[in-house]
Amino acid sequence: MSARRVLVVDDDPAVVQMLTSILRKEGYDVVTALDALQGVMRAHRDKPDVILLDIMMPAGGGFSVLERLKTSIHTSMIPVIVLTGSVEAGIEDKARVLGVQGFFHKPCDIGALLDCIRQAVGEGPPGS
């Protein structure tokens, strides 16, 4: 079975690099995008198994990415986990309405995040 592919969409390269590093160690195939537009393109092109999505981003923002993914037949089935540094009120409700798999405030607990990803791609705990 080929490695599960995770698309990380975040405008902060440091965050993208950190997540890529960790996820690769966990055995995931990681593709990245640094803005919303790239995120959508990557989602269509690379067909990730799960998408980690930041909300406050240039070129559209996380919600526009989320809406496009959910309205496209190619990407609507891909689980999305939101990882945001925003403290804006109501943001979690809004994301959940759009059908996200998980929601984390930065700085998040990496373990919890990984658990959520594993759950989203239909895997058991690591090592299983």
């Binding site: 440091a14 965050v15 960790i22 009120a89 990496i110």
Partner: protein, 829 residues
């Protein structure tokens, strides 16, 4: 006839004759005595005497002839001739008869009168000259004269009829004279034909009778006899004559003129009488006074009303002036007005005063000049009506009006009502006036004002029921009650014991009026008068009602005014409260705005910090999973991770502060929250030797809230308390909780220096801190303020009297119960 007439002629005076004879005899005798001795010396005795007498006679004879006889003879002859001439030429008939009644003389005029010649009648009896009817009387008269020598006819003039020779009679006037001679007595009658005179006399008499008739007719005409009857009489009078003479025509003309005048006069008189009757009737029924005075101001007429009003009779007043009737001041007033009317010749309307039995009255007077035919004012007429009542009514109304104006002033109404009642009492001539108002429950009528001084008003009240008598009845029925004191007061109107002892309303004659405002009765106006006084005037009730209406309105106004004043005060108070609340709200708003601005900033900062923190934490966690690392390194990584957790908490604080917290409300036990806060800090407090006293009310109800946020608040407060007490070290920190109204109240008190008054308003501001740089962010209290406000509670700080500050947090018990449910359901989704 000539021989007789001589004797009656006038002679030389007998004395003169006598003296003449004596002189002649004396002189002749003297001559004889002188001559005798010469001529016949010695002759004595008889011869001498004869000689002497002869000589004397011879000597005196010529003198006697010359001086005596000759004058006497000539006088007698002249007299006789004169008498004969007079008789002959007299126009009156002169007849002389003798004692036998035979005619002695019959002059020419008599011949003409009787138609007889003198020759035919001389020596004949007089009978044939008189009509048969006089002859007896004539005979008797003659006999009586002959026997007694007296006749009542002598020296008189009588009228009788004579009989002419042709047998006709004629009227004559006879003057009879008697004279006597030696031959006896003679009677001479002087006869005058008075036929013409008689005719004239008769005509005159007829005229006189006519005029008398005319006068009689006039008098009867004037007296009101029927003119046509009078005319008939006049014609009948004339018709008695066989023929109408010129006189008759004239007479009838005069009569008709007179009657015409009489008729006109009578008509005029009737018209005048009718007019006068009308005038008199009019005047006597005139309710007002009417009078007339002449130009000198003397009364000439007054009507009956005048007589009755001033108890004077027209007859008494007539001809008197005002000065004589009225007191000087009043008379002067009348006369001045009269003079003005006379001067101006125009009517004058004015008001005069007059003295009546019961004092001064006012009269509305119209005075006018009555002009004579020359246009000169001859009299002053006057008419007047008594306007005293109107005048008094006016004055009364005026006084009441002023009183009612005064009671329109709402301020101090009750204090003033008493005085106003006194005004009303005086102008209405009542003894007492009282105002009683119903209490709010409608059970009692309470006295609020009275004209009686010294009554303890507050205690005077009567029940609205049978015991309240007329007062209660007037109130209940809303009808005025008038009892004029005739007889005992009816039982229904009588106050029952013990209220009959209320002096101010105990009376025999009274009027009780309900005080009604807008159809609602609020009390009664009670007024009374001692029975000895005059009865109530008809207008009194109306005036009282007027006053009652005004008083009721005024009382109502006063009540409304009080209400309005009270409302205004309440309103003012509420506005004050609201203003204060608003100011507080505004202060809060300002605070909130500051916090909101900071929140926006914090939100941005939090996001930006979260990014690198995420990276740091991510790497640290990832490294810790690396089995190749030694324990020392793993411990370092653990510290890194702990610090990122701390940083994350700071950032979360900032996030909470921005009130974009995702904190959830749940039912909380505040005591537990406080205990949790202490678990984080108790180590530090112990280290600083701070005594902690907890006085927590175990019966606190649960409150809705965010556990972590509230914990944060108390951590802040405890930390602040700790820091406040730090310089001295030690100290005591007291935390108390209790229920206060709908709130749970927690107080955190320290024994530090307290909060300077100057910074009390600043203490909840963001970034305001009294701590040294690096020691505090200045956000703690600000965040606490935001959290508590978000919970619908409040936080305040006070300085304790015993020193130190106390922060008091109040949180509502039930206010956010619905919010709790919502939060729970959402978090469960």
């Amino acid at each position: 006839m000539k021989q007789y007439t001589w004797t009656v002629a006038s002679l030389p005076s007998p004395l003169r004759l006598f003296l003449t004879v004596l002189v002649i005899v004396f002189l002749a005798e003297a001559a004889v005595m002188f001559l005798l001795p010469v001529l016949l010396p010695g002759v004595e005795g008889l011869a001498g005497a004869i000689a002497d007498a002869s000589i004397l006679t011879v000597l005196s004879a010529p003198f006697l002839w010359w001086f005596i006889v000759r004058p006497l003879c000539s006088t007698a002859m002249a007299e006789q001739a004169r008498a004969v001439t007079i008789v002959a030429h007299s126009s009156d008939g002169i007849i002389t008869i003798n004692e036998q009644g035979l005619v002695e003389s019959f002059n020419q005029a008599a011949e003409c009168l009787f138609g007889y010649r003198e020759e035919e009648v001389l020596g004949k009896p007089l009978n044939f000259l008189m009509p048969e009817r006089y002859r007896d009387a004539h005979r008797r008269g003659l006999e009586r004269v002959r026997s007694t020598g007296e006749s009542h006819l002598i020296g008189k003039t009588i009228e009788l009829y004579g009989l002419r020779k042709d047998g006709s009679e004629f009227p004559l006037e006879l003057s009879l004279a008697a004279w006597k001679t030696a031959k006896g007595a003679f009677y001479t009658g002087i006869i005058r034909d008075i036929t013409e005179r008689k005719q004239v006399e008769r005509a005159l008499e007829a005229r006189v009778r006519q005029w008398e008739t005319v006068v009689g007719l006039c008098q009867r005409a004037l007296a009101g006899a029927d003119p046509s009857t009078l005319m008939d009489e006049a014609v009948a009078l004339v018709a008695q004559r066989r023929t109408f003479t010129q006189d008759d025509v004239q007479f009838l003309q005069v009569v008709s003129n007179v009657l015409l005048a009489a008729i006109q006069r009578r008509r005029a008189e009737e018209a005048l009488r009718e007019s006068e009757e009308r005038f008199a009737s009019f005047m006597s029924h005139l309710p007002g006074l009417a009078w007339m005075k002449d130009a000198e101001g003397r009364y000439v007429y007054i009507n009956e009303s005048y007589e009755k009003t001033f108890h004077m009779k027209l007859s008494d007043l007539c001809g008197k002036t005002d000065d004589e009737v009225w007191p000087p001041a009043i008379a002067a007033q009348y006369q001045e007005n009269d003079r003005q009317v006379m001067r101006s010749r125009a009517a004058l309307q004015t008001i005069e005063t007059a003295l009546h039995d019961d004092g001064l009255h006012y009269w509305l007077v119209c005075k006018f000049p009555i002009l004579d035919e020359n246009g000169t004012p001859a009299m002053v007429g006057g008419a007047a009506v008594d306007i005293t009542d109107q005048k008094r009514m006016e004055e009364t109304l005026q006084a009441l009006y002023l009183a009612s104006l005064a009671i329109q002033e709402p301020l101090a109404l009750r204090a003033r009502l008493g005085r106003l009642l006194q005004v009303a009492r005086d102008v209405l001539h009542m003894d007492r006036l009282n105002i009683l108002l119903a209490d709010s429950a409608g059970q009692w009528l309470e006295m609020v004002a009275s004209t009686e001084a010294g009554e303890p008003l507050e205690t005077l009240r009567v029940p609205i029921g049978p015991e309240g008598g007329g007062l209660a009845q007037a109130y209940r029925t809303q009808q005025p009650i008038v009892w004029d004191g005739q007889g005992p007061v009816p039982e229904a109107l009588r106050l029952k014991p013990p209220y009959d002892q209320v002096k101010a309303i105990r009376s025999q004659a009274f009027i009780i009026l309900p005080l009604v405002v807008h159809g609602r009765v609020i009390g009664v106006l009670a007024t009374d008068r001692r029975t000895s006084r005059r009865p109530f005037e008809p207008a009194l009730l109306g005036l009282l009602q007027l006053f009652a209406t005004q008083a009721a309105l005024a009382i109502e106004h006063a009540r409304l005014y009080e209400q309005v004043t009270r409302h205004a005060e309440e309103l003012e108070q509420r506005v004050e409260e609201r203003t204060r609340a608003l100011q507080e709200a505004q202060a809060q708003l300002v605070q909130s705005a500051k916090l909101a601005a900071l929140g926006t900033l914090a939100a941005g900062v939090a996001h930006e910090l979260n990014q690198p923190l995420t990276v740091i934490r991510g790497y640290a966690q990832a490294l810790m999973a690396d089995d190749r690392l030694d324990l020392e390194t793993k411990a370092d990584l653990d510290r890194i991770q702990a610090q990122t957790t701390r940083m994350a908490r700071i950032i979360n604080h900032l996030r909470d502060f921005s009130r974009q917290s995702h904190g959830t409300f749940e039912p909380l036990a505040l005591n537990q929250v406080i205990e949790d806060s202490f678990t984080l800090l108790s180590q530090q407090l112990q280290a600083r030797n701070i005594e902690v006293v907890k006085a927590l009310d175990p019966g606190l109800p649960m409150i809705p809230g965010d556990r972590f946020q509230l914990e944060q608040v108390f951590i802040n407060l405890i930390t602040n308390a700790r820091d406040a007490m730090q310089p001295q070290g030690g100290g005591r920190l007291t935390v108390t909780t209790r229920v206060a109204g709908g709130f749970v109240e927690a107080a955190v008190a320290d024994t530090g220096p307290g909060i300077p008054e100057a910074i009390r308003d600043l203490i909840f501001d963001p970034f305001f801190t009294t701590k040294e740089v690096g020691q505090g962010t200045g956000l703690g209290l600000s965040i606490s303020y935001g959290i508590i406000t978000q919970h619908g509670g409040e936080i305040r700080v006070e300085n304790r009297p015993e020193g130190g500050a106390v922060f008091v947090v109040r949180l509502p018990i039930t206010k956010h119960a619905a919010g709790v449910e919502r939060q729970e359901s959402r978090s469960g989704a």
